[in-house]
Amino acid sequence: MAQIETFYDVMRRQGITRRSLLKYSSLTAAALGLGPSFAPQIAHAMETKPRTPVVWLHGLECTCCSESFIRSAHPLVKDVVLSMISLDYDDTLMAAAGHQAEAALEQTLEKYKGEYILAVEGNPPLNEDGMFCIVGGKPFLDQLKHAAKDAKAVIAWGSCASWGCVQAARPNPTQAVPIHKVITDKPIIKVPGCPPIAEVMTGVITYMLTFGKIPELDRQGRPKMFYGQRIHDKCYRRPHFDAGQFVEHWDDDNARRGYCLYKVGCKGPTTYNACSTVRWNEGTSFPIQAGHGCIGCSEDGFWDKGSFYDRLTNIKQFGIEQNADEIGTAVAGGVGAAIAAHAAVSAIKRVASSSHKDQGEQES
């Protein structure tokens, strides 16, 4: 390495003074919800750290995570890729192909053993010996395990790597599994969503670079800073929910006034993500603001919870597809009918026995 360029160098040569670097750092600190006391720490990290190598693998996927990543506005993805990290392998964007691409991967794994971050988009299929996803003539699973072996940390981009997502929806024909099923000895940071929000992706990476540690994770392995709250908790339409004002049908007056989408199936109340706060595409909007309910794309198994437009979701455990109210009213109806029948028989018996008793008393 001729010279290791730090993030500060990058900013310096872009004409940014140390004073504005500090300002940038305090903004970053604020954006990450860290408070102003962290700003000097961020500035220091940017001044001194070389770019961290990142290996970005692709399994069964649709590449929406990569597409989302390049939408990042704060920071701009060109700054991330040119100045913050060293994206040493990413088959969607890298110049080299074939043998040269594979060689680039090997070089990084060797040279930065234990130092590189492994980012995984998509997931490995286990059926057909893993050959439903082939890279370099071999199963993707092999490449994944190989690259995970000496990684410092592993990021699971999106719902595929985190939960399994669409290819793992019933009946999961390729037996695609989330990466934590095959990488069991490394910390995995799950950044779910289909895809995750761009600024959430770059936010997770810059947090790791800045603080030199993985962000605090919740029970399910997601960074608390972005997945600690439900979309519902910070939704701008929440006052209409509390008031009891709902969109009853698509394009009704309530839809035009921006009422709550709860009744048309919005999954905001059960979905942990930053959509209603960070919003999408540089804060432009988010699904609920654009009039369609949340489909819950950052939640485990969201594909298999019945229609996206139903409030009550289907319960498949009984082998029938019915929601709780359908099951409940059916069973309660059955029990009610049984009670009525039982009461009737009881009454008949009682009348019969009392008349029998009367008879007996008369006889005695």
Binding site: R219, Q220, A243, K267, T271, G328, A332
Partner: protein, 240 residues
């Protein structure tokens, strides 16, 4: 058992007395029962409307708080139900021996099982006369445990897990019950099962009320008044 013996003895000693009364349900227990009744009614109705909200109200959002009140009532009733249930558990330790029937089902006793069978036959109109019981009859005790104790615990645990989501991560409810969410898969699943739990409780209530009324009429002891005054009245002096 001891009380039953006492009762038999009493029968022998006081031949003249036609009917017997035993103090079964102490005041805190009765209070708990009726508080729980109130809570379950509130929770069932408000819970249903949380799942399927009422038609939209007109006017400015800031002037209305319908869903908010419904949810508030649900959460308040949930809290009272849970606290009362904890009180009920405490009472099982300090109350009379009937107060433990709800929690300790003597499944290890053959005689108990034979009485369960007798009760089943009574309900299926196969036995002519029911037996006398000071506390719950064995079948009643079994159903109370399965439907009420388990059902109520399930609803409290899932309910507070969901409540913890609103209280936000790190809240007491999240710390105590947050593990429930990943156990079920995700929040949506917990909602669904909590909703299904409501129907379980509805079925319990239907059966419970029906059986209480029916037994009040057809069995050999009082039921409904017992949960009001605490005294179990027996309608005849025949043994067992």
């Amino acid at each position: 058992m001891a009380l039953e013996k006492q009762l038999e003895l009493g029968d022998r000693e006081e031949k003249v007395r036609k009917q017997t009364a035993v103090y079964v349900y102490e005041a805190p227990l009765r209070l708990w029962h009726w508080v729980t009744v109130f809570c379950i009614l509130t929770l069932g109705i408000t819970g249903y409307f949380i799942g399927s909200p009422l038609p939209s109200v007109p006017g400015e959002a800031s002037d209305n708080f319908l869903m908010g009140y419904i949810r508030f009532a649900h959460f308040s009733a949930g809290y009272i139900l849970a606290v009362a249930f904890i009180g009920r558990i405490y009472w099982a330790f300090v109350g009379n021996h009937h107060s433990r029937e709800l929690f300790i089902v003597p499944v290890w006793r053959a005689k108990w099982w034979s009485e369960v069978w007798h009760e089943v036959r009574w309900y299926l109109f196969m036995a002519k006369t029911p037996k006398k019981y000071i506390g719950h009859n064995p079948l009643g005790q079994l159903s109370m445990f399965c439907f009420f104790v388990i059902g109520n615990t399930f609803m409290i645990v899932t309910g507070f897990a969901l409540y913890g989501e609103g209280l936000s991560a790190g809240s007491w409810a999240d710390q105590v019950f947050g593990w429930v969410i990943p156990l079920f898969g995700q929040s949506q699943d917990v909602h669904t099962w909590h909703h299904l739990g409501m129907w379980y409780i509805v079925i319990f209530v239907m059966t419970h009320v029906y059986v209480a009324v029916r037994e009040d009429i057809m069995s050999r002891q009082s039921l409904i008044s017992t949960m009001i005054g605490g005294w179990r009245m027996f309608k005849d002096d025949k043994p067992d």
